[in-house]
């Protein structure tokens, strides 16, 4: 079972490096990673797909990511109802006789043609992992020049307050002065 995590981080130089190297250090494999800005200034949203079947380890990785200073919150999209999607562009070389079939395959997942020049066609499509992969498999018998995939992005269904991320900065309240009292 793949684990999809939504990680909200401070938009700082090196933050992607911190998150990915932390995952590597904890000995997990990243299957896909996608990052981008959010509706809030200064906050970046990273969607991580990890290949970790063990449920205990899945919860450990969530907690250990929360340990990072740059991380506001982590949501495990695999545990709640959510929509997990991917964007792909596919460049195909095709002659007149094949192109109709190809267009039909793309249409079946509501994909579009982005551009065409002579016999080179670029299509774009979005969908969950299975949809994107089935299209790629179906196109395998044609002359695919290149494919680019964005990596999975995820959004939680509905607006349940329990699933809303904690996106506020807080004061680190427990300080040395408290430690010093014990000395």
């Amino acid at each position: 079972m793949k684990q999809t995590l939504i990680v909200f981080v401070q938009d700082e130089p090196g933050v992607l490096n911190r998150v990915s190297s932390h995952i590597r250090r904890k000995n997990f494999n990243i299957e896909s990673i996608a990052a981008g800005h959010t509706e809030k200034k200064g906050i970046t949203r990273i969607t991580l797909v990890l290949n970790e079947p063990n449920k205990t380890k899945q919860s450990i990785v969530v907690n250990s990511l929360k340990q990072l200073i740059d991380v506001y919150d982590v949501i495990d999209a695999t545990k709640i109802k959510s929509h997990i999607r991917e964007y792909a562009m596919i460049k195909v070389l095709s002659n007149e006789s094949q192109i109709l079939d190809i267009k039909n395959i793309i249409k079946s997942v509501n994909g579009h043609m982005v551009s065409t020049s002579e016999n080179i066609f670029i299509f774009e499509l979005t969908g969950n992992k299975n949809e994107v992969e089935s299209v790629i498999t179906k196109l395998e018998k044609y002359d695919i020049i290149e494919i680019v995939r964005s990596g999975m992005v995820a959004m939680v269904d509905g607006d349940n307050s329990q699933n809303r991320p904690h996106l506020k900065k807080t004061e680190p309240n427990w300080s040395t002065f408290r430690i010093m009292e014990s000395f």
Partner: protein, 568 residues
């Protein structure tokens, strides 16, 4: 009121604001402006010139452990900074708040492989709690303030700030930022969840064979009194990890001793046979659990720790409370019923009597034994010294034979096991506890790793006594070779310089002890002397630290102390 200050001056202004009065460091090209500015702050900051930057980090670490304040170390770019990595990792694994400030090549030169350039900010990601590279002088003060706050808050840890040289020279109208530091996440929970407290209390009230596992968190949280009360009310034996030493006084009747690889037989048995473990501020390190798959299988487990990532990390627990330990236990106490687990203590007593092997500290032997040295130091110092132990056999003997009644009196590298830690850490500690008796307990292998810091000790005339337990071997590794590698002693015999001549060359007093009867008078002499003293104890070469749980074995499958006749 705004003043025109350079980046270098701002560094010192901010460091002083954090109540720092001593900085351990080593100058160099990229940190020169900061050192130049130091001349203006001499009255408020004492700078200790170390002999190696690793020493600076360990000194800051020792200072932090002994004072509860944040320790500060400073170095130049490149090699100066990379020399700090070991010290940062040591502080990370033991959750010690230190801030390391390094110089960096000027901003335009970053990324060009300039002279003495290393991406230290990126290098230390895995060994720090956080790291900074300051690129705008307007961020400098708030960055330093944030760094100290991060180092000391929650689960403490090391932070590194990398500051380019040209930024240190830049000037701005400066005003210290008074607004509070705010960071993402890190929302430390002050109050434990009520339902979890009730669950925990139920488990404690219904248990017949409970054990408290006391970790470093007790010291960091200052929860000693609360833990003692909990143990006394609910009649629970207390065992501790190496870093939890002193959290509950060794002389307390409910304290049954250290757990783990070199823990007591009765303690490890008690953990394995318990029906409830109450883990307080500890993280189930492999050195205390032994084989995880056989670890205390029949017990319920309560885990109280401030760090959520420790929950279920190694051992699955029934109740996990992520909160400050002191607050949690004090809120838990009213829910606990008074009782007496008399039968349980009788079982433990039986184990204690079964495991009585050789009693080395009360045995007359021809050669001196490490354990005897530790015990005699304990007696001569009335158990009241701050002990800074290094890593190896002497470290375990210290834990077994020096009884600590006060928290924060044993400073040792537990998590990382950094050889060479003790001498610099003791120098650091001496700046925190000027009037305390401070003893370095160190092996002949460990002392040779950071022996250069003797010069620092002499230059600063710090009041420390350095007890070198010399057995001519890397003793702990030798012990493993004897037990698990058919006594093939590959590269463990190690020669030493003449420590009396070393002492003389560095300009301090040195003594050598061969027999036990010399110990009291020499210790007395060393204690009377103000300033550093080296005492070499020449001990039995082939001694082994018992009891011992072999790696990967179950916690109760231990090699016990042999009978008296087995002493060579």
């Amino acid at each position: 009121m705004k003043r025109l200050l350079s980046g270098a001056e701002i560094i010192w202004e901010c460091v002083i604001e954090e109540q720092t009065d001593v900085v351990f460091g080593y100058p160099g090209g990229a940190i020169l402006p900061a050192y130049d500015a130091l001349t203006k702050y001499r009255k408020k900051i004492h700078h200790v010139l170390v002999r190696h930057e690793q020493g600076a980090t360990h000194m800051a670490d020792g200072y932090a452990r002994a004072s509860g304040k944040v320790g500060v170390a400073m170095a130049t770019s490149g090699p100066g900074a990379t020399n700090m990595v070991t010290g940062l990792a040591t502080a990370k694994l033991d959750s010690i708040p230190i801030v390391c400030i390094t110089g960096q090549v000027p901003r335009p030169a970053i990324g060009t492989d300039a002279f003495q350039e290393v991406d230290i900010y990126g290098t230390v990601f895995p060994v720090t709690k956080y790291s900074y590279l300051v690129m705008d002088i307007n961020d400098l003060a708030s960055t330093i303030k944030e760094a100290f706050a991060i180092a000391r808050s929650g689960r403490p840890g090391p932070v590194l700030i990398d500051i380019p040289k040209d930024l240190q020279n830049e000037k701005i109208e400066f005003e210290y930022p008074r607004n509070p530091v705010k960071i993402p996440g890190n929302n430390i929970i002050k109050k434990p969840e009520k339902n979890k407290l009730i669950k925990a209390a139920n488990l404690i009230n219904n248990s017949k064979k409970p054990v408290i596992l006391a970790g470093h968190g007790i010291l960091l949280s200052g929860a000693s009194q609360e833990i003692i009360k909990l143990a006394e009310i609910a009649s629970i034996p207390v065992t501790w990890t190496l870093l939890g030493s002193g959290g509950v006084p060794a002389s307390h009747p409910l304290n049954i001793g250290m757990m783990g690889m070199h823990g007591e037989y009765a303690v490890n048995n008690a953990i394995q046979e318990a029906d409830l473990l109450i883990a307080c501020g500890m993280r189930f390190d492999d050195r205390v659990t032994g084989d995880v798959s056989t670890y205390s299988l029949n017990s319920k487990k309560i885990h109280i720790d401030i760090d959520p990532s420790e929950m279920n990390k190694i051992i699955p627990v029934d109740v996990g409370i992520v909160c400050d330990l002191k607050n949690t236990v004090s809120e838990l106490l009213p829910l606990i019923q008074k009782k007496n687990n008399k039968n349980w203590f009788e079982i433990i007593k039986k184990w204690q009597s079964e495991s009585k092997g050789r009693d080395i500290i009360n045995t007359k032997t021809e050669t001196l034994f490490g354990a005897q040295v530790i015990r005699d130091i304990w007696e001569e110092t009335n158990g009241d010294a701050i002990i800074v132990s290094d890593v190896g056999q002497h470290q375990m003997l210290e834990a077994q034979y020096y009884d600590h009644d006060e928290p924060n009196t044993l400073l040792t590298s537990g998590g990382l096991g950094t050889m060479g830690f003790s001498l610099p850490a003791a120098i650091g500690a001496s700046f925190a506890k000027k009037n305390k008796d401070i003893w370095v307990i160190v092996g002949d292998g460990s002392i040779q790793m950071t022996i250069t810091e003797l010069a620092t000790a002499v230059q600063e005339n710090v009041n420390i006594n350095i007890a070198i337990i010399n057995n001519g071997y890397l003793g702990m590794v030798r012990q493993w070779q004897e037990l698990f590698y058919d006594s093939r002693f590959a590269e463990t015999p190690i020669s030493s310089p003449d420590y009396l001549k070393i002492a003389e060359a560095y300009g301090l007093d040195g003594y050598r002890v061969h027999s036990r009867k010399e110990i009291p008078s020499i210790i007395k002499r060393a204690r009377q002397k103000r300033g550093p003293v080296v005492i070499e104890f020449v001990v039995e070469k082939h001694d082994v630290v018992y009891p011992m749980v072999p790696t990967g074995a179950a916690l109760n499958a231990m090699i016990n102390r042999p009978s008296k006749t087995k002493i060579k």
